[in-house]
Symmetry: C2
């Protein structure tokens, strides 16, 4: 296991849903999605819950329940997905606060916060330039034919 794979899993979920939606408008189940992602359905539902809270997907209950996209794949950017996951930025400050009796210990957190803040902004901007539709197109370009979901 490396870093956190949440954005990857979320994008995978949405891309798969977008592919399926090309043929059927029916809701898809977390179990079916889990087969493609290769993990437990609850893991999928947890992520779908966050995407739901962010308004990217709709959930349907009762008989014929499951999930559908709330927007077209072209209208969902990776920034939307990343924001839905409520993750922290890549760099954190000190685990325990530095020595306030030292000028460096006193001033470095605000200084680094500015650096990390603009970095976050940059990352968001970049993620906003890619949509689920683009990821799906790029993904499918590997295997021209077949679509044995």
């Amino acid at each position: 296991m490396s870093a956190n794979s949440r954005l990857t899993v979320a994008v995978h979920i949405l891309s798969w849903m977008a592919l399926v939606a090309r043929k059927r408008a029916d809701p898809v189940t977390s179990e079916r999605i889990a087969l493609s992602v290769n993990t437990n359905p609850v893991v999928i539902r947890r992520t779908l819950g966050l995407l739901h809270k962010a308004g990217l997907v709709r959930s349907h209950r009762g008989v014929n329940a499951g999930w559908t996209l709330a927007k077209s794949a072209a209208a969902i950017t990776l920034r939307d997905v990343s924001a839905a996951l409520e993750q922290e930025g890549p760099f954190g400050l000190h685990a325990s606060p530095p020595n306030p009796g030292c000028p460096v210990g006193r001033g470095i957190q605000p200084a680094l916060s500015r650096v990390y803040g603009s970095l976050d902004h940059l990352i968001q901007q970049h993620l906003a330039r890619t949509t689920i539709e683009q990821v799906l197109a790029d993904t499918l370009s590997m295997t021209p034919g077949s679509n044995g979901i």
Copy 2:
């Protein structure tokens, strides 16, 4: 504890060394640095070891041992520091590989690798624009007077 604080600690170390180096060229010990960062000296030495391997600091042994900067603070960028730490990017791929029998499972890793790769490149570029000297200046701008290290 939040995300990983390694870049923060490394930048703190180098900034503190740069501040001290303005007055004395003598090596500083990991114990003294640890007082400013507020952690264990071994944690500092671990990070200094990586910075040493990257050629950013020099280590001195025997009597009057310690560490000195190998370059001026203006010649060390946050990209240099980040690279020295050999960390992974912010986003990882799947924890366990996705279903290769599904077109999405098959193609999404290369697709996302491209996205993450260009994102990494962007982050590196941005980090390269800030030097330790700039961070130190920004850090000290908080407390104009005093320098009770």
